[in-house]
């Protein structure tokens, strides 16, 4: 298998991967809710960080547990648990972000037997001067809880290893994302989605190795498809592979993203400081924020615009997860902000399954407005 194909394979066989990892290493697998969980600590503890994602299939098992007006991603994620697809997990951890997600975590904890569960109160007010001093204490408690659960101390050397592996992963993801900047882009948005999403559940050593090999493959690539219009994807938990494929089949390439299944997970490295836990916890306070945490100043918007400019996006698709209040609050303002800065936008509302036909007409018509080869 070529290195690049590994990511797609992992994406579609995530459960088999985790089971096989567990068998091979004898280690614990910890399901993570939200990209704010400090994967460095899990890695330091010798555990596998295993992001809980949905399957994008219709389901009818969550109705008794969480409300229908909770976001489709939350419902889809819980459905995977209720259906037993994550039955290999030894534990779960949620880093606090939104209420929908917390209820999902609570429901999982109440209805799906799991050895270790942990609620990590990541502060929403990351702009507060006390956010860092607060969060480092919470991360220390999380570390202690993992030590107690595993019956084994997490040493400084373990933490160094955790920081090194995750930071290396971030550097390598940046490096491969550079191939999206070229004209034509050497990496499609669909490929990048597979790559960035799998970083959230594949052992960093393996993922890093695959990234190194894939970067070499991509560097030598000659692009034989017409890239069309360069687009940006802005959203949240949008690992909507079928949607990305459709967009890239109608005359466009997604060249950059600002979403949890992408740059928001890996964009900044942990700055090395004398205190290892501070190194780790500060990274999450300083990272490009989720809308739940981007208050009172909206610091996310200039970051989104800078990404669009750096990757030469000609337009942006704003992918709104239905009922996701934090993004719903941002999106009308973000739309105006991007358009005022020369980036036209198309807003689409996503459910767990993708209505590709109705999306396609909207995307095609959006692309027609962006094309200069006019029909007049």
């Amino acid at each position: 298998m070529a290195a690049l194909e590994k990511f797609e394979h992992w994406y579609h066989n995530r459960h088999e991967y985790a089971r096989e990892w567990k068998k091979r290493t004898g280690g614990k697998v910890i399901g993570t809710f939200c990209t704010y969980v400090p994967d460095e600590i899990l890695t330091a503890a010798g555990m596998l960080h295993s992001r809980i994602l949905g399957s994008h299939e219709p389901q009818d098992v969550t109705e008794p547990h969480i409300f229908g007006m909770f976001c489709p991603f939350c419902r889809d994620s819980l459905a995977q648990g209720l259906k037993g697809r994550f039955n290999y997990l030894d534990g779960i951890v949620l880093a606090h972000s939104c209420i929908h997600y917390r209820q999902t975590f609570d429901s999982w904890r109440a209805h799906i037997p799991t050895e270790f569960t942990y609620y990590l109160p990541m502060p929403n007010m990351v702009q507060s001067p006390s956010a860092k001093s607060y969060y480092v204490g919470e991360v220390a408690k999380f570390k202690a809880a993992l030590e107690e659960y595993a019956g084994k101390k997490i040493t400084d050397a373990d933490l160094d290893r955790g920081i090194e592996l995750t930071n290396k992963n971030r550097r390598l993801l940046h490096k491969i994302y550079e191939f999206r900047k070229t004209d034509p882009p050497k990496l499609t948005g669909t490929e990048a989605l597979y790559i960035a999403t799998t970083a959230q559940f594949v052992d960093y050593e393996e993922h890093n190795k695959a990234l190194e090999e894939a970067s070499e493959e991509v560097a030598d690539r000659t692009v034989d498809r017409d890239p069309g219009i360069r687009l940006m994807a802005v959203g949240s938990e949008n690992d909507d592979v079928e949607f990305f494929k459709m967009v890239e089949s109608v005359g466009a390439t997604v060249v950059i993203d600002e979403q949890c299944a992408g740059t928001r997970y890996f964009w900044n490295e942990a700055r090395i400081q004398p205190d290892r836990l501070q190194t780790i916890s500060d990274r999450y306070v300083e990272r490009p924020p989720c809308p739940t945490k981007d208050y009172p100043e909206r610091q996310r918007f200039p970051h989104v615009l800078q990404l669009a400019k750096d990757y030469k996006a000609q337009g942006a698709i704003i992918m709104q997860e239905k009922f996701c209040d934090p993004h719903e609050g941002d999106n009308p303002v973000l739309k105006k902000y991007l358009e005022d800065n020369g980036i036209p936008t198309l807003g689409l509302e996503f459910d767990s399954t993708n209505p590709l036909g109705p999306f396609r007409i909207r995307v095609e018509a959006f692309l027609e407005t962006l094309r200069t080869d006019d029909l007049f």
Partner: protein
């Protein structure tokens, strides 16, 4: 059983034009969710057209619409130099040279039908509704579509016509036969609106009063879409519902702007726009020496 929703299918050709003298012949085929139209343009002018119900098979619907437009013209399909497909079945028009979205085609068609001062177009189609902004050439600058709902669409109107046993062409006229405007029915869902209409009939409402309530609900529904994008003058309505005065007049009242009138059939906008794009594309191919 009578099918009250069933609108008349038709075709037309310009008796004063001789297609044999035309330098360029292009066609636009709009395979919509409910109706299909074929337009034949000669040198960028309307020459012939047809409008029919879309069948279960998109390629067949496209073929039939074109055949009917060609009827009695002496023209054969091979005389057409460029075909553009549009509508939800646009990628399934078997003989099309290119597929273009109906959003672009409606704007282009509206520009031809109602003049280049049109800036806002409301396309009230069979199964969705689109609000479109365009420039003086008829190029789309912005658009919005309704989401996942038949309220405010032709199919919704057909359901109500059937329920009330009123031929669809008479819905608009009959809806004005009320002493005063009633409250609108539910504007969020055709199924809810239908249940509500049945209840109102039981309460002794006349058919006209129910139709007035439904037309008003539809007008309010589409006005929300227009308000989200903003209505810039001139304002023009395309699609089948444009023929229903019961909705159009009420919509004009709700938004406080009158729609521009055109001598052309509003349902042709998509296919006509497609045929005109075909003309521009053919011209470019000729200029590039790709075709004779």
């Amino acid at each position: 059983m009578a099918e009250f929703w069933r609108w008349k299918e038709y075709n037309w050709k310009d008796p004063d034009k001789d297609w044999k003298t035309a330098k360029m012949i292009t066609a636009g085929i709009d395979v919509g969710s409910v109706s299909s139209q074929a337009v034949i343009a000669t040198d960028g002018e309307l020459y012939a057209y047809s409008s029919m119900r879309t069948g279960s098979n998109s390629p067949d619907s496209a073929r039939k619409a074109l055949e009917w437009a060609l009827q009695d013209t002496g023209m054969k399909q091979e005389n057409i130099q460029y075909v553009v497909g549009t509508g939800y079945g646009r990628v399934n028009v078997p003989f099309a040279n290119k597929a273009i979205t109906e959003i672009a085609c409606h704007a282009r068609g509206a520009n031809f039908m109602a003049g280049n001062s049109v800036r806002t177009i409301l396309d009230m189609g069979g199964q969705d509704c689109k609000a479109i902004h365009c420039d003086e050439k008829g190029k789309v600058t912005n658009f919005l579509m309704n989401d996942k709902c038949a309220a405010g669409t032709g199919r919704g109107m057909e359901v109500i016509a059937d329920l009330l046993a009123v031929p669809i062409e008479q819905v608009g006229e009959l809806s004005f036969n009320v002493p005063e405007e009633p409250e609108p029915v539910s504007s969020t869902c055709v199924v809810f609106a239908k249940s509500e209409a049945m209840g109102l009939l039981k309460d002794g409402w006349t058919k006209s009063k129910v139709l007035a309530a439904y037309c008003l609900a539809m007008a309010k529904r589409v006005s929300e879409l227009l308000e989200r994008i903003g209505v810039e003058k001139e304002f023009f309505i395309t699609g089948g519902i444009a023929k229903n005065a019961g909705v159009v007049k009420r919509l004009e009242q709700v938004i406080g702007i009158s729609a521009v009138q055109s001598k052309y059939d509003s349902q042709l906008a998509g296919a006509l726009g497609a045929a005109l794009f075909g003309q521009a594309l053919l011209q470019k191919e000729k200029a590039a020496g790709k075709v004779a």
